[in-house]
């Protein structure tokens, strides 16, 4: 899979997470899940797990590549001295 396809998959997953995050269908659900966990909390904790999985995928299929010099540049402060 090329980086471009990977990028679009990640964009799609992030949009999906944003939609799922706005869980209006759980707004008035007060019954605890597993006997103790409010649904409002459990669903959103699931979003956090989903985010972790999405970003894991991002590091595999959409991680950017940079050409970086071995030695970092020196301070730019000197170059910027004097202003405009």
């Amino acid at each position: 899979m090329n980086k471009s396809t990977g990028k679009w998959i990640i964009i799609g997953l992030v949009i999906l997470l944003i939609i799922l995050h706005h869980d209006v269908w759980n707004w008035d659900d007060k019954e605890p899940v597993f006997g103790f966990m409010p649904m409002a909390l459990l669903w959103q904790a699931g979003i956090s797990l989903g985010a972790g999985a999405t970003w894991f995928l991002a590091t595999k299929i959409a991680w950017p590549e940079f050409e970086v010099d071995e030695a970092p540049a020196t301070e730019v402060a000197a170059a910027q001295e004097g202003g405009e």
């Binding site: 992030v14 997470l17 944003i18 995050h21 706005h22 869980d23 209006v24 759980n26 707004w27 008035d28 659900d29 007060k30 605890p32 006997g35 103790f36 966990m37 409010p38 649904m39 409002a40 909390l41 669903w43 959103q44 904790a45 979003i47 956090s48 797990l49 985010a51 972790g52 999405t54 970003w55 894991f56 991002a58 590091t59 991680w63 950017p64 940079f66 970086v68 010099d69 970092p72 540049a73 020196t74 301070e75 730019v76 402060a77 000197a78 910027q80 001295e81 202003g83 405009e84």
Partner: protein, 661 residues
């Protein structure tokens, strides 16, 4: 006292870590500010996470869920899991690569280069430092509040006005000094090491304490069952009909008490001794004596229509006085009976806490004797017994949606920019990007659950609320820990809370010093005017000045940590369009950037003032979070002005967008 000893040991250990990291210091300003780009994946994850999870995450989230319920997690935690990592991925890695390539240390250096503008630094520097101050303030305020709450009763006679615990002003001062010392000794390397250690401390201790507290509450299921029974609204994001019914009954009763007290105070009613005796005999509600004093005769007066002679204006004045609010000069505003919502528009009278202390002066004492009340409890009970009952509140779905803009702030946090640049390589970011949402979950879920449970938890073996409804939200976590754990565990968890607070303060301290020396001192002085050692001294002097200023602010009337945090983050978020466009939009111009910064700053100031400087925790603008307006206006100003002005030079475009050429 045990708690105080543990906290002191922890602070000493931290100072030791600062001294140890100073041994690794290479003596250059580059090493002091960026740890010579040597931070690997694990330390980068821990320092980024520790830096973003401040008092806001522990103290703020517990207090806020105590007030607003379980939906608080969705407001900021889950959205942060998506947005923070997105920012690390989309902005952090790219800025790291540019910083590595062109030698940037601060955001302003990057913006000066990208926007071909020296003066952008002059406008951005005060804004960024100005926004870091409320962020620092959250930590400084919360550390004082937590240490004071947890050490209540530690002294026999000293600090009676602070419940015989360490006064918040002293606790905040000590925390500031400890962080200053280890930042001064260790620089960025020391900060990253301290952050890593402290993040592990607060995550592990937080989880352990959560399970200890849930056990004390009778287990996870029992703790939640009590909330479902007493405050079901806290379990969801709309208002439960049972809570509405309960509130309406309580509000009606409260109105009656207000009318009765007003009538008695103004000579419009005086019950005879027989009537008073009958009132008390007929009053069956199982309330403590101090509540029966006015509730019993008020109920009697209402039953016998003795309050019917009050005019509407008098009734309104009665409500305002009972709720400790300032009545308006003009009677015109009071010609229609105020409902609860309108009542809340009138400001509270200053000094109401003094009245609370006076009311319960016989009960207040050293809390080392369990029979005594603390001043915080007296204040909470006074408010709960005198003020109108809290109206159960749901969450507005539009506000919930627009909260999503708040975590965009990480894109513009100057201290995170500096942390990004410490990375050894672009790949060092991978672990932080993936683990950040999971770590947020591990910290926030227990805190939110705890806040929700505290709304309905009762003292062991009784039906008395462990924490009264109007209890200061910033003190809820510490109060729960103190009430439900042993002094030893309480001390350890306090160390954990302080670890979270200090792991943010240190990066922010270091960052403001770096910005001052790099963007102002070095930039506007002749080459080699200052040696490396002199620069470090200048950075430290500026840090001390900013910390002193923040400390002074912390002595004023405290705000809710969560509310103040959201305002601070909103300010940074409003600058997000600028950083994003500068990396991904070739057409962004210098004038467009100025327009964005001015629009963001002006909107933030106007809305912040309109919210009564964060005093109103439920403030919205057009039914949305204020940040939505700030980002929209900043983006519109940036795009319109950029398109109307001359594009950047080819040289700059080639430098920042090489692939397009």
């Amino acid at each position: 006292m045990t708690q105080l000893v543990i906290i002191s040991i922890y602070l000493c250990l931290l100072l030791g870590l600062g001294l140890f990291s100073s041994k690794l210091f290479r003596g250059t300003s580059k090493d002091y500010m960026l740890a010579s780009h040597s931070i690997g994946p694990f330390m980068l994850l821990m320092s980024l996470f520790g830096t973003t999870m401040t008092a806001f995450a522990l103290v703020g989230s517990t207090g806020e869920s105590f007030k607003e319920g379980a939906g608080v997690y969705g407001l900021l935690a889950s959205s942060s899991g998506i947005i923070h990592s997105l920012c690390f991925f989309v902005l952090g890695v790219k800025l790291w690569s540019l910083g590595h390539k062109y030698g940037y240390t601060t955001q302003i250096q990057f913006f000066r280069d990208r926007l071909e503008s020296d003066k952008i630094g002059v406008i951005l520097f005060p804004i960024l430092v100005g926004l870091v101050i409320p962020y620092l303030l959250i930590g400084v305020m919360a550390s004082g509040s937590v240490i004071n709450s947890i050490t209540e009763g530690a002294f026999e006679t000293a600090f009676a006005n602070y419940d015989y615990g360490v006064p918040p002003w002293l606790a905040s001062l000590v925390i500031c000094i400890v962080v200053l010392i280890y930042v001064f000794f260790g620089g960025m390397r020391g900060t990253a090491m301290a952050n890593t250690a402290q993040t592990m401390v607060f995550m592990v201790l937080g989880l352990i304490t959560f399970f200890i507290i849930s056990n004390k509450l009778g287990g996870l299921e029992q703790a939640t069952a009590k909330v479902l029974e007493k405050n079901p609204t806290k379990m969801m994001r709309t208002v439960d009909p049972a809570d509405t019914e309960k509130y309406e009954t309580a509000y009606d009763k409260w109105e009656t008490v207000a009318f009765y007290n007003y009538a008695v105070r103004n000579g419009k009613l005086k019950l005879s001794e027989e009537q008073m005796a009958q009132a008390h005999a007929e009053f069956k509600a199982p309330l403590p004596p101090f509540l029966k004093v006015d509730r019993a005769p008020a109920a009697y007066a209402e039953r016998n229509n003795l309050l019917d002679n009050l005019t509407v204006v008098e009734q309104n004045r009665a409500l305002l006085e009972q709720d400790d609010r300032i009545a308006p000069e003009s009677e015109k505003e009071l010609e229609k009976l105020l409902d609860h919502e309108h009542l809340q528009h009138y400001p509270r009278r200053p000094g109401t806490d003094v009245a609370g202390m006076e009311m319960f002066k016989d009960k207040i004492g050293n809390p080392s004797d369990p029979k005594n009340w603390t001043r915080k409890k007296a204040r909470g009970v006074y408010r709960a017994s005198k003020w109108a009952p809290d109206k159960p509140r749901g969450m507005n779905p539009w506000k919930f949606l627009t909260y999503f803009f708040v975590p965009l702030s990480v894109g513009m946090f100057p201290h995170l920019f500096q942390h990004w640049l410490t990375a050894k390589s672009a790949d060092s970011f991978k672990l932080a990007v993936v683990a950040h949402p999971i770590f947020i979950m591990l910290v926030w879920v227990p805190c939110v659950l705890l806040g929700v449970w505290m709304t309905s938890a009762t003292l062991p073996g009784s039906n008395t609320a462990l924490i009264p409804p109007h209890f200061p939200p910033n003190a809820v976590l510490a109060a729960a820990v103190k009430a439900l754990t042993s002094p030893f565990v309480g001390g350890l968890l306090t160390a954990g809370i302080l670890a979270a607070i200090m792991s943010s303060l240190d990066s922010q301290f270091l960052c403001v010093g770096t910005m001052f020396t790099t963007d102002i001192v070095t930039h506007y002085s002749k080459k080699d005017r200052f040696s490396d050692k002199q620069l470090i001294v200048i950075a430290r002097a500026f840090i001390v000045a900013i910390v002193a200023l923040t400390y002074l602010f912390s002595l004023f009337e405290p705000r809710r940590v969560f509310t103040l945090g959201v305002w601070c983050f909103s300010g940074f978020s409003s600058l997000f369009p600028l950083i994003f466009a500068s990396l991904y939009w070739r057409r962004l111009t210098k004038a467009g950037a100025y327009a964005a910064v001015i629009a963001a700053g002006a909107t933030w100031l106007c809305l912040f003032a309109d919210s009564d400087f964060a005093a109103n925790p439920h403030y919205d603008f057009l039914g949305l979070m204020p940040v939505a307006t700030m980002i929209t206006l900043a983006t519109a100003a940036m795009v319109i002005v950029s398109l109307m002005t001359k594009p950047p030079s080819e040289e700059t475009l080639n430098k920042f967008f090489p692939k397009a050429n």
